[in-house]
């Protein structure tokens, strides 16, 4: 595990400057600690407490409330499969079962060599793209059991996998760093809206529909 360094502490200070009250910086700062150590460790809690002038109990209270902060090493990749009602019933349950079997891991467990963390996730705000999977929280939309297992196989072989609406997959810690410092140069990846996001605009264009133009008496 990587140690937290003076560089980490300096980055935490940088995050604090975004907020009028420094305690507000705790969530991105915890993401940063997790990006270095692959989990929230006692060492991470101590450093966060120190830079924010909080007790370790206060930091622990926050770190244990939010499900994205993990208390054991996640490994190289976090695999999320939505098993909330809509995704689950439209096939997410089968996708989860297939991936779980492939990894030999259950909910919030890693595979035997600690490379993949599997999690049944709640609604990912992508119901139009069901069944939804995430790899290191990047969208992998519209999965089937076979396609999801193929994603795992390719990641296991070190091959490039590209998010369906985002960048090429890096690793869990890289995404955690993005959550602390979001302007990471990857915003353009994934390009314009996909066919599902354009479904209505496409129909509107086909049928010659549009919103009424601004009227002359507009403000």
């Amino acid at each position: 595990m990587n140690p937290l360094t003076e560089q980490t502490r300096a980055s935490m200070a940088e995050i604090i400057h975004r907020y009028p009250h420094k305690r507000s910086a705790i969530m991105p700062i915890l993401h940063l600690a997790q990006s270095v150590q692959d989990e929230i460790t006692p060492e991470g809690i101590a450093m966060v407490a120190e830079v924010l002038d909080l007790t370790t109990a206060e930091v622990n209270a926050v770190a244990t409330f939010y499900t994205m902060y993990k208390r054991s090493p996640v490994g190289k990749h976090h695999i999320g499969i939505c098993t909330n009602t809509l995704c689950a019933l439209l096939g997410g349950d089968a996708v989860y079962d297939a991936v779980s079997e492939r990894l030999g891991a259950g909910h919030n467990q890693t595979d035997v060599d600690g490379t993949f963390w599997l999690e049944r996730i709640e609604c990912q705000a992508a119901c139009t793209h069901a069944p939804v999977m995430t790899v290191d929280w990047e969208f992998m939309d519209c999965q089937t059991p076979a396609s999801a297992v193929e994603v795992i196989d390719r990641l296991a072989r070190g091959e490039m996998v590209v998010s369906t609406r985002g960048p090429a997959i890096r690793d869990f810690q890289a995404t955690e760093h993005t959550l602390a410092f979001p302007d990471d140069g990857l915003a353009g990846e994934g390009g314009e809206a996909d066919a599902i996001m354009l479904a209505g605009l496409t129909v509107a264009n086909q049928r010659g529909m549009s919103a009424p133009p601004a009227t002359a008496q507009g403000a």
Partner: protein, 436 residues
């Protein structure tokens, strides 16, 4: 037939629309100079006159909310954008942030100016890094172009915008829990009153608005009240970014005037997929609002008509389920979600969701009993209205709604496991089995 009316989504097919240049090429940031030349109070009045209602679920009139902020009180004011979209079924704010972050940002600048805020936070759920990147990148572009920062376009108005990443908690979509979370605490709701308009972030006057609500603002300032009110009804004016999901042939984003019907949206979305081709049940706006059936396909999707039908417009993101879906299974899964997401602050919600899932699990396995139905009814009645926030009420919603229309399925689940009556694979969007 109500036509589709792309406004916010009109240029989503432009490859670089999510960049400052792409947005500006299609009339972006034209509302901003107009707004900065106006008196802040007249912007609030204009938004009030449009009748725009919050698009996050509750439908509270936006201009009215803004007008509750005490002006010239010498305190800092804050705008907080609720971009914590996590309601099961809701998937329209994340697409807006990915495809149209600058419309959100232009709305942020104008709205902040109107309520006299100088620091705005955009609280985005942590599980959607690409949406966070797009908004953060838009903020940097806007800063570099002098659209955010000090003395914006020579107006003397200053604004800072901070993009904040959440960390996985549905409850933070509740506005006071969001504020606690943004203050660096566990995301638990506050007692209201006092309301955020007077005691919000850091106990200062704060407006919390949904992404889509704020994204409406540039078009309102540009095109005016009359233009806006051409869309929708008297009580539900405007257009809506509907996200249609579930058993439809073309799931996706459909922008249309409020008042369009589910039958019309279904037609645009290519009709029902699978099963016997009919809608078994559908939910107009997130799992927290009661389900409807095929009998309600012609009910206008407005705040008032949905209320009359016994439900709510909610987030305006209909989920459609075909004949293969077990209502018992759907309700059980939703309750597992509420159990998982209950923040634990209020006993009825924390304990109630735990007990409800236990009883529902019996039904799923064909082992429910007649007294269990009554027990579930009691449990729901003991949660409703007895918790600080709407999560408790929401958790008590799916079961009574399901019983209203599908009591027979719960009766059948007293002797037959749900999986026998409704084999799971029949509902899947794929036909393959798990690979071996």
């Amino acid at each position: 037939m109500t036509p589709l009316t792309p406004v916010i989504t009109a240029h989503w097919d432009v490859p670089d629309y999510f960049t400052l240049e792409g947005y500006k090429r299609h009339d972006g940031y034209r509302a901003l100079p107009k707004a900065l030349a106006m008196d802040p109070d007249s912007i609030i009045a204009q938004v009030k006159d449009t009748g725009l209602r919050g698009r996050g679920g509750a439908g509270f009139p936006t201009g009215l909310k803004w007008s509750f902020v005490p002006q010239n009180d010498g305190k800092p004011h804050y705008l907080v954008v609720n971009a914590d979209e996590s309601e099961p079924g809701a998937c329209k704010d994340v697409p807006i942030m990915m495809a149209n972050p600058h419309a959100l940002l232009e709305g942020v600048i104008i709205s902040s100016y109107a309520i006299r805020a100088h620091h705005t936070f955009i609280y985005i759920r942590g599980e959607v890094p690409q949406a966070i990147r797009r908004v953060a990148s838009a903020v940097r572009e806007a800063e570099q172009a002098g659209l955010i920062g000090d003395n914006i376009q020579g107006s003397g108005y200053n604004l800072r915008v901070t993009v904040h990443s959440g960390a996985g908690a549905y409850i933070c979509g509740e506005e006071t829990a969001l504020l606690d979370s943004l203050e660096g605490r566990r995301g638990q709701p506050r007692l209201k009153p006092p309301f955020p308009a007077t005691h919000g972030l850091y106990a200062d006057p704060t407006v919390v608005n949904n992404v889509e609500t704020i994204a409406n603002i540039p078009w309102i300032v540009n095109n005016g009240v009359e233009w806006f009110r051409q869309f929708g009804t008297e009580k539900s004016p405007g257009f809506k970014v509907f996200a249609v999901s579930g058993h439809v042939n073309r799931p996706g984003i459909y922008e249309a005037p409020l008042g369009i019907t589910m039958r019309e949206l279904l037609d645009y979305a290519g009709g029902v997929r699978g099963g016997d081709g009919t809608v078994k049940f559908w939910i107009p706006g997130g799992s927290s609002v009661p389900m409807l059936t095929a009998d309600h396909l012609d009910t206008p999707l407005t705040y008032e008509a949905m209320a009359e039908a016994g439900t709510m417009l909610g987030t305006g993101t209909p989920m459609v389920f075909n004949s293969t879906i077990s209502v018992v299974k759907a309700v059980t899964r939703w309750l597992e979600f509420y159990k998982h997401e209950s923040c634990g602050k209020c006993t009825p919600c924390r304990e109630g969701t735990y007990w409800i899932t236990g009883v529902l699990d019996r039904f799923e396995h064909g082992a429910g009993t007649d007294p269990d139905m009554k027990l579930l009814e009691d449990l729901c009645a003991n949660i409703t209205g007895r918790s600080f926030c709407a999560l408790g009420d929401a958790a008590a919603t799916p079961y009574p709604a399901a019983m209203k229309y599908f009591r027979d399925e719960f009766e059948a689940a007293t002797h037959t496991p749900v999986d026998e009556t409704y084999p799971s694979a029949a509902s899947y969007l794929f036909t393959e089995l798990a690979p071996r």
